[in-house]
Symmetry: C2
Subunit: 342 residues, 2 copies
């Protein structure tokens, strides 16, 4: 007796329905090409046997998987969660399955994951940001796997992008901060190495300083991985300086929340003693007290548009067009207007 629970194959279905494997395959993939009577018989056999197509075999024969892969730097905090959820929903609506992997912000791991996903037959890939080893893009091109970069917008590049201009957005926020009368500005940034979003945000702050005739080079900037605790530590070291900043601008909301905690631990109150700003406008920013002034990123819209663009690339084999979204300022309590009368 064979107790290996053996999985039914196309052959089994064909035999049980009394047709050829080709007919079964057609029933499943282009039902309109087979006459109703046969189709019903086949479908019944499929039901009875509990048949599910073998994916590997299908991929090998058909070269299409209806699978999209996404690699995000981290799942630990909510930065990418909302956008990814929207991305997934949009894909699902179009009949695609999303597979997610995370890279822990490490290029090496990201490359591994890219290969894993491509090997598994991903029809297209969503990556975060654009700044990576050109060899990666060569690899993808050689296999003609479409890639889309999200969370950034870069018009000129080789790769299509769906996102917003990180630099311009941070510049706008910084302009607002300066308009509010702040001159001593400090920054806590994510690690800029290999992270174009982080780098652009720093550049945006520098731009704004220039625009207002301030010396961008003397802004104290601390780079640290995106984690709350790191934000707290960086904040305290910024505030320990001889002439501490009146505002600490953070590379994202996670760091800003950390900064807020740091302030509390030091007994400083926000925004009375020091202002704090964030970036991304994730839920966190409105949960803490005071609520954090930040740049609102249209996460859901970005996810949705990215899905559309990527499917377009996959199905039409087109080069793909970049989509620019607008990120807007969200002025909340954590930023003090120094010009206002008390």
């Amino acid at each position: 007796m064979n107790n290996q629970p053996s999985v039914p194959t196309l052959d089994d279905v064909a035999r049980s329905a009394g047709v050829s494997t080709a007919t079964v395959s057609r029933c499943l993939n282009s039902p309109e090409r087979v006459v109703e009577k046969t189709r019903k018989r086949v479908m019944r056999a499929v039901e009875e046997l509990g048949y599910t197509p073998n994916f590997g075999a299908r991929v090998m024969a058909a070269k299409r998987t209806f699978t999209i892969g996404a690699i995000i730097p981290t799942m630990e905090n909510a930065i990418f969660a909302r956008g990814l959820q929207a991305f997934q929903e949009a894909l699902h609506a179009r009949g695609y399955t999303l597979l997610v992997a995370s890279s822990a912000y490490q290029p090496k791991i990201e490359e591994e994951q890219i290969k894993a996903l491509v090997a598994r037959g991903a029809d297209g890939l969503l990556l975060i940001g654009q700044d990576r080893d050109p060899a990666v893009y060569d690899y993808l091109r050689a296999r003609s796997v479409p890639v889309l970069s999200a969370w950034v917008y870069m018009a000129g590049g080789d790769q299509p992008t769906v996102g917003f201009d990180n630099r311009r957005s941070m510049r706008a926020l910084a302009q607002q901060v300066i308009d509010f009368g702040h001159r001593r500005i400090g920054m806590i940034s994510g690690i800029t190495q290999g992270n174009d979003r982080a780098a652009e945000r720093v550049a945006g702050l520098r731009d704004a300083m220039h625009d207002n005739g301030l010396d961008a080079d003397q802004v104290p900037i601390i780079e640290t991985p995106y984690e709350i605790e790191n934000g707290a530590v960086a904040f305290q070291s910024l505030m320990d300086a001889p002439s501490p900043p009146s505002v600490v601008m953070c590379g994202n909301d996670v760091l800003a929340v950390g900064a807020l905690r740091g302030a509390r631990e030091m007994g400083l109150s926000v925004p009375e003693d020091v202002s704090i700003t964030g970036f991304d406008d994730i839920e966190l920013a409105r949960i803490v007290t005071p609520q954090i002034t930040t740049v609102h990123v249209p996460h859901r819209e970005m996810g949705r548009k990215a899905a559309e663009a990527l499917i377009d690339m996959v199905e039409k084999r087109s080069a793909g067009a970049s989509v620019e979204l607008t990120a807007s300022l969200q002025i909340r309590d954590s930023l003090k207007d120094l010009r206002a009368k008390p």
Copy 2:
């Protein structure tokens, strides 16, 4: 001229290295069985051609993928993030790749995702909770795909579990609440339908009421999806009752944070006017003010242990043993001790 960038295959490598495909395959899968000289030659050819094995073909021929699938209810909030991250790290260390999909708490979608992952050759599956259509387990058994349920611990069941006893944990928390002198208890729970964790937590509260001779049936319980906004709404409707509770126990931290916001909007201060408790001890719980009293779940340990157990099942084809972890109380500011002198 052929401008289809054609992907190199095993054959190409074999030809280029002047060996047979079998040798190339062996170089890749069990290098010790090939003499060094040949191996080097082959590896060079692999490098030069930029060869990556075709996954579908490999699966079909070898029936192993070194891929583990996980399906979590949601990526939108951080409930599963930390545990999943640890799970992924542990898998990675053992040479496995993790593929994640989310079900939006919908059994139908979960089933689809399970099929998608199995079809894609997942060697094993991690699911959250245990409460699902038996047909799902039959399907998995028929294909001999090992499944492990996490975030719950149930000794008796058919499936191995790695997690903690949700019911007992909530009972302990409720006991503490009662010991602090609270008698009018309200609860905001997640949707218990199809979510055993949520159901067990409610049961745990009931247990504690019983233990203390209180009437469990008159506890007002509102069920609502795990979202901050829902927590706020539910809280307000609980507090609008003629004799509002002195403590609102929430099914998780997300709802608790929502409740906190609800309180703030109503002008109630926590814990002076009303106490709030959560569950899970995600980062959120310590970020808000006041910090939330909750049940600490050892997420990372759970992820790690789950990875070990699942790999064990996959490799040894064993039935898999359940692992029970301990969840501990985290008493923080959001819970007031009514016995304490002011």
